[in-house]
Point group: C2
Chain length 641, copies 2
């Protein structure tokens, strides 16, 4: 009998001692980080609202109770029972019964009404129906990503359970080493922006944090081939943690599955969906540009299948000696500052991922409040000594000026934007500006994956800023549903029509003018001196966006919108850069993030910034707050304990 | 056809263009770092003294010319021809013909006379006999280690050729990466003394430097299990470099062969033999103490079989992007400061290994003269702020005082000493002191492996200090052959006789009183208050030697000399510590080593010292010479380029 089985037997007898004699336990097993208890008496369990909480705190585990399959009423009967218990206004749109786990997935427009006050409606469902309810939101805007992911996970349910069980046993395996050390190895995004990837390593456990590509330098990928990264193979990694969905953090995660990785990816639910969307687009763009991407869509599906979503604030065991907690990072939907608690009080590391310190229209500002953190790994995109950005208020004013000036000239405004994050922020700015009459009402065309990304935002309003979340909950106030927003879904023909038509604003991917439909917009509108190309986001070194900002006006238009091989276009439109809409904290924000931490970390590793940015930030934090700071190179290993 | 084969074909046609038309080349292949050229006309090759030198410089390879087997005269005939060519005074003691390579190994008392002026006698042998001569010294004192190693290598000659050919092809493989970086990972001996082990790593190549145990802490071994060390397995290492034979640098090298390593060990010839001696003793001691050692004698033989000996000063390719050169380190016989030249001028790293900066009686001081070195990895055993040792002259005076005082009391002097290094130094001191009448003539008993180690010293006088080498070449002046030295080879009975007998001096292993016959001497003499236990070497933390130095007088005597389980003995003898005989540079020596380097390195990693020693030395070198210095922990990775 393995050590995990012995452990589970112990736990089972502890549970049996704790619960009333007449409740029968039929099985106890791990599924991912959770302990799942099967019982013939799910109603009795649900009847005592405190029982599960008591067990969880006693066993120090997250506990899910499931009915033993033999006790379940038939789905046809159960369906009606659920509809009877849940108030009609919850807007149930789908019910999906899984006999293998005894779970019923309830998709509803208002999940809160299915849950009830402190879970009371859920408990009622369990008591009435026996099946264990799991609630998901009906996307207010139809999102093919969300429905594809949900359908896929439904199909793969059995394999997914096997994965979760295997991962669960891994997490709760016996600790083997009596040594104690904590190390971080830098595999990318050091003294550069792009290819984020780190290994966090203890004698027990090896965790890969992010695994991205580098925009503008496709050959520069994380150093997965050094032995510190995948060691004796990808199966040597215990877990992958993804801080957010942008490709410079997520693009190469599917590659791990090609290399034989078969373990969990911990991230938030919106990041899972956005990651799928962006990775499939990454393959698509590569195919269109005639490149062979390093993996295929099958591996994207593997990544999704292996994702274990966690919510902000959940303290979760992911290894015998590592607990993680995600916190809002304010950068994009689902982005997470990740706190690692290692050993039993041995050491704490926080990875900022990409952060925005102040509140934006979309998100609350990044969380920096941890009970303990000895080392902080901090992004430094705007860490340079002069990287103070305009206030968002001033930026919005300037953007409105640019729009008004362009409008008066009779031109159009073209804004390259990341599909995820800045586009939605701009939509909120534009919607309000038109509503208030600050800029003329005109169509706002959303091209690339912006519409789809927006749909994903409205599926997970819990991850948005408080007041925005409340507006979305009331469908008639959902700003993303405003009339002026047009989803470009008619391809080149529609683009040509828009280009030939009335004044308008175009938001299009890619955000750094590295391919995508923005290339087509440049072809259609780029020669028009009345129109304005407006940069609102960070343009990495080596990208076409950065080169245009620096004055280049000969643009290659190969392969997009029918341009022949080697064609170039002379850019005659105005170009403007409006700072302050970045999803990244500026220098002041980064300093504030560190300054207001309590306690402050002993050590800060400044990463994810150009060489001068990380050096500037590192030396400023050292001088101002007397912390040990570093500006690591890629491929270094720091030992902390 | 592989890339290496193509390369060899190119080389062959270059050689054919360079040599006269009537010399026939039959084969060109790599054997280890050497290019071996087979020819039907070895005499013609040998006739032109400059031809091989010209080819070597043109091809930038080390070249060996061998006769095609078809051209060789029969050994019986060749034997007489060799004896005719070589002057009788050379003292040929063995001739061994290897038909497979066309080599004849000539063992002679005076190898120099077999070689002749600038190799003239060797060339004459080739011209007369056809066979290629290789010369080794007849050990002036019979050494079972040397003869065992030589016989073993003779037996394994065919497999060894295969190994060399495989290694040769590996060394000359195509460079695959267009990246450039240089990293060092610390696997042991950082902020501690013991378990020396480092990985030097480029995109092409992974080299393990040393792989030792830790005296007094047998559980603490180099971190071979972290992926940086053996990566996807021991076969992932390209080469092992051994700086000297002491077990804290060499003990775990055979373990690599158990793990599947099958590559070369680069070291000096005396280090190879001493390594074999010490590793077999390591197994022996473990067996006597009832421990299961991590490998068996078969792996020691593998290590010896895979050793490619290099001489001081030979610049040798060991990988497509790495050349190494050994230099005298002054620490023990064969010890080497190792210089790594990486890439074509990319970067240079020197590993000091253990060094002695000043000349001693046995060795010239450590070499610190390199054309370029950006990073120095420096031992720091005596790097502490107060680790200034007595001059050797004063130390010798004090030792003679201790001996004279003990003699006058009627006691005996017992000196725990490493078999290798300090024992021979002390033998030289004692021999001279008796010759000069500074101390009374009395027997000096050598126990443990001291005698055998001494025999190995006399086999390789080229590695000793100039004047000592010259004395050994004249047998009647060989100080190690002085009458008073007695090899304890009669076991406990002889020890008892010595203990009961006249006044004398005993040199015995182990040097840190961690088992070995010294335990038996303590049992026999430890209770005698007239005798003196005299420490002359470094006693590591955790060893019994260190504890006795600190005043412990209850000594466990288990398992040695018949003491029962759990027996202890109360030490009544005087204890004295005479500094200044260490094989290690003291603080001043370490500073001098760095200070007199020209150019000085940009960075220094201070390793191989207790925590305070490395910190003190690191901060002193930083302040005094304004270099970037580090006191790494184990398990860190530094990137230099």
């Amino acid at each position: 009998m393995s050590q995990v089985d012995t452990q589970l037997e112990d736990i089972r007898s502890q549970i049996e001692q704790e619960i009333p004699n007449d409740i029968t336990i039929t099985d106890v097993k791990y599924e991912g980080p959770e302990l799942v208890v099967y019982t013939r008496d799910p109603k009795r369990f649900a009847g005592d609202g405190d029982l599960i909480r008591r067990l969880a705190s006693q066993l120090r585990k997250r506990i899910t109770v499931r009915p033993d399959p033999s006790t379940l009423s038939p789905p046809s009967e159960a369906r009606q029972q659920v509809l009877d218990v849940v108030p009609e206004e919850a807007g149930i749109s789908d019910l999906d019964f899984h006999a293998d786990t005894g779970e019923v997935v309830i998709e509803a427009q208002k999940p809160g009404m299915v849950i009830g006050r402190r879970g009371s409606t859920l408990r009622e469902i369990t008591q009435e129906v026996g099946w264990t309810p799991e609630v998901v939101r009906t996307p207010p805007i139809e999102s093919s990503t969300v429905s594809n992911v949900r359908n896929f996970l439904k199909q793969e349910r059995e394999e997914r359970r096997d994965i979760l069980e295997r991962v669960g046993r891994q997490i709760h395996r016996e600790e083997l080493s009596d040594e104690e050390w904590v190390r971080i190895t830098t595999l990318g995004c050091c003294r550069e922006v792009g290819r984020a990837a780190f290994i966090l390593n203890t004698p027990e456990t090896r965790i890969l944090i992010d695994c991205g590509d580098k925009p503008g330098a496709e050959g520069e990928v994380p150093y997965l081939q050094v032995p510190e990264a995948l060691g004796a193979g990808a199966q040597n990694i215990d877990a992958v943690v993804l801080t957010h969905a942008h490709l410079d953090h997520s693009a190469l995660i599917p590659l791990l599955f090609k290399y034989g990785y078969d373990g969990p990816i911990y991230t938030t639910e919106p990041t899972r969906d956005l990651m799928g969307l962006l990775q499939l687009d990454y393959l698509d763009v590569a195919a269109k540009e005639g490149r062979t991407p390093p993996y295929e869509s099958a591996q994207v599906r593997e990544a999704i299948k292996h994702t274990i979503p966690l919510e902000y604030g959940d303290v979760t065991d992911i290894a015998p000696d590592v607990k993680i907690t995600f916190h809002n990072a304010g950068h994009i939907l689902g982005s997470a500052v990740t706190h690692f608690h290692i050993g039993d009080g041995l050491y704490n590391v926080a990875f900022s991922g990409d952060i925005h310190y102040d509140d934006t229209r979309l998100f609350n500002g990044a969380v920096n409040d941890f009970p303990r953190v000895e080392t902080l790994v901090l992004e430094s995109t705007y860490g340079g000594r002069n990287d103070y950005q305009t206030d968002q208020e001033d930026s919005e004013r300037r953007l409105k000026e640019v729009i008004n000036e362009t409008y008066e000239r009779g031109g159009k405004v073209v804004i390259p934007a990341f599909a995820v994050g800045r586009s939605q922020e701009l939509m909120l700015v534009l919607e309000e500006a038109m509503r208030n009459g600050d800029i003329p009402e005109m169509p706002v065309h959303l091209d690339g994956m912006i519409w789809e990304a927006t749909a994903i935002h409205t599926t997970y309003p819990e991850y948005l800023r408080d007041d925005l979340r409340d507006r979305i909950f009331h469908e008639d106030e959902n700003p993303f549903l405003a009339d002026q927003f047009n989803h470009i879904d008619g391809g080149e023909e529609e683009r040509q029509e828009v280009a030939d038509g009335e004044q308008c604003i175009v938001l299009s991917t890619s955000g750094m003018v590295e391919g995508g439909p923005i290339m087509s917009w440049l072809r259609h509108i780029g020669t028009d001196p009345d129109s304005t190309l407006t940069f609102v986001g960070y343009q990495a070194q080596g990208t076409l966006g950065r080169r245009i900002q620096n004055g280049w006006d000969e643009i290659p238009v190969d392969g997009w919108g029918g341009g022949g091989r080697g064609d170039t276009l002379t850019l005659n439109m105005e170009t403007e850069t409006v700072d302050g809409f970045s999803g990244h904290a500026d220098r002041q924000g980064l300093e504030n993030f560190v300054k207001t931490m309590n306690p402050r970390p002993e050590k800060v590793l400044c990463v994810h910034g150009d060489e001068s940015s990380v050096q500037d930030l590192s030396s400023a934090l050292y001088h101002d707050y007397n912390m040990r700071t570093f500006a690591p190179k890629n491929l270094e290993t720091f030992r902390f304990k």
